[in-house]
């Protein structure tokens, strides 16, 4: 039984489809005048952010609040963490405060795994991005967006061709996406300069190419990854201009895509670097849609982890209680 969401690899195909289907239903809540459900009333969700992230934190906060959970935002900056408190002591504090779920963003790969496996917390742990490792809810919202645009919001992504382009080495989004998309049956191609590919990428369930022009005419979706300047501690490519010319998505390259193909970006974008402004603002771009979908997907994850007395993900088979619904 799974109580945590640490890695996209933890999700079976059925788990992933359940989350996407649940998110599909929850997306309708956003269209209502009252965007709120009483489902997680009395539950406490802590957003534990050791790394700056407005977008993800607000998305989780909105998701928890729409489900009526109490939300505590804990930012490491200016907290006891900056005075030297360890992750363990922070966790024990949250446990003492009765946190039912901890959404953690950490600069160290593996921090959520440590938090979930340590026994410091009784609640669920949701990985909201750890170092260069994973960001499973981002992958889920990307898959949700693709499924809506390419598969009518139903089933899996069997046989769809997805191209991920850019800084794979530093990208937790890329890793989670490759794992999840493979689980959902999509064919993933990574395109990056050799210097921005991690060691061991050949064991990932995807193909790798150094040339962006080749896979584009066959892609159903192309996802541009942000060039993470803050993580660039060596010369990974000669100049920004050269990177942009070889791996940036401009109007010429967008025109090579099939009619139905979409352009995605997890944000924040470096306009003019990995993606041209005209492409980012085109009708094919789903960048704003991805943000909206993020709230629905995170609602689904929180609901499935916290809604019952045990999580719905890969738990033993049972039909649950009958009596309310006779």
């Amino acid at each position: 039984m799974k109580r945590h969401l640490i890695s996209a690899a933890d999700l079976t195909r059925d788990d992933a489809i359940l989350i996407l289907d649940t998110a599909e239903e929850l997306a309708h809540i956003a269209e209502r005048p009252i965007k709120k459900l009483p489902t997680l009333r009395g539950r406490t969700v802590v957003n534990l952010f050791f790394e700056d992230s407005t977008r993800t934190r607000i998305s989780f906060e909105a998701a928890a609040k729409r489900l009526s959970a109490d939300v505590i935002n804990f930012s490491a900056k200016g907290s006891s963490v900056s005075k030297g408190e360890s992750l363990k002591d922070t966790a024990l504090t949250l446990q003492a405060m009765g946190a039912d779920a901890v959404v953690i963003r950490h600069h160290a790969s593996g921090a959520p795994h440590r938090l979930a496996g340590s026994g410091w917390l009784r609640g669920s742990v949701v990985n909201a991005g750890d170092g260069t490792h994973e960001h499973p809810t981002q992958a889920l919202l990307d898959a949700f967006t693709m499924r809506r645009r390419l598969a009518g919001g139903r089933g899996d992504l069997e046989g769809r061709r997805i191209t991920l382009v850019g800084d794979v080495l530093h990208s937790r989004v890329a890793r989670s996406n490759v794992l999840l998309l493979a689980t959902l049956g999509a064919e993933v191609t990574l395109v990056a300069p050799p210097t921005l590919l991690p060691i061991g990428v050949e064991t990932w369930p995807c193909t790798v190419s150094y040339d962006l022009d080749a896979p584009l005419p066959k892609s159903d979706a192309v996802m541009m990854l942000r060039v993470q300047r803050e993580r660039m501690n060596a010369a990974f490519f000669p100049t920004e201009r050269e990177y942009s010319r070889r791996y940036g998505l401009d109007l010429r390259r967008m025109a090579m895509l099939p009619e139905h193909a979409i352009v995605m970006h997890p944000g924040p974008m470096n306009r003019g670097m990995e993606i041209a402004a005209e492409v980012a603002d085109s009708t094919r771009s789903t960048i704003v849609e991805q943000v909206t979908n993020g709230v629905s997907v995170r609602m689904a994850v929180l609901y499935l982890l916290l809604g019952g007395n045990e999580p719905a993900l890969s738990a033993p088979s049972t039909t649950g209680t009958e009596e309310i619904a006779k």
């Binding site: 059925d14 239903e25 929850l26 916290l306 649950g320 009596e323």
Partner: protein
Amino acid sequence: MTAPRNTPGGTSAARPKDLDPATARTVLDPSDINRALTRIAHEIVERAKGADDVVLLGIPTRGVALARRLGERLASIEDGAEVPVGALDITMYRDDLRLGPARALERTEIPAEGIDGKLVVLVDDVLYSGRTIRAALDALNDIGRPRAVQLAVLVDRGHRELPIRADYVGKNLPTSQRETVKVHLAEYDGRDAVLLGTRAADPAAHTDAEK
């Protein structure tokens, strides 16, 4: 996977629990169900003085099929009047969510006209504790403000735990709590029938019943 999608044949198609074939007996056959729905349709038209502002909302899974059938009957009684039919999932509003694993959601479809100012008739297959209907009233509250809300059920089996009663009942069926009512509908089960019996493979039903 705990909770498969509640498509026909999924979780809710399995509920209520299977009956012990030795005790199961048919209390409503297809023609009984037909007549009951026709009568309910006439009662709705009579009480609402027409079907102009009626919206039928079925509670998944079988309530949705019943709501569709009622909608067709209302249209034929009222000379082709369009009666909006939708579905209202109450999962997120249940008061027993924390007693079991998180459940998969079912579809909520509110007709495009909305429910503001309308006469909403909630439709379900079996009325038992009343908690489903309480949850449905909460759910409606978040969607809009109907002029009035009424309740139509195929079977009322008693044992209410809340002050709720149905406006339209296909059949009042006195039951003991150890018994189970199982509604089969052609849309999901291939045939129409209402069965009454004790639960199969549930020893508790035989030991602590009729206290």
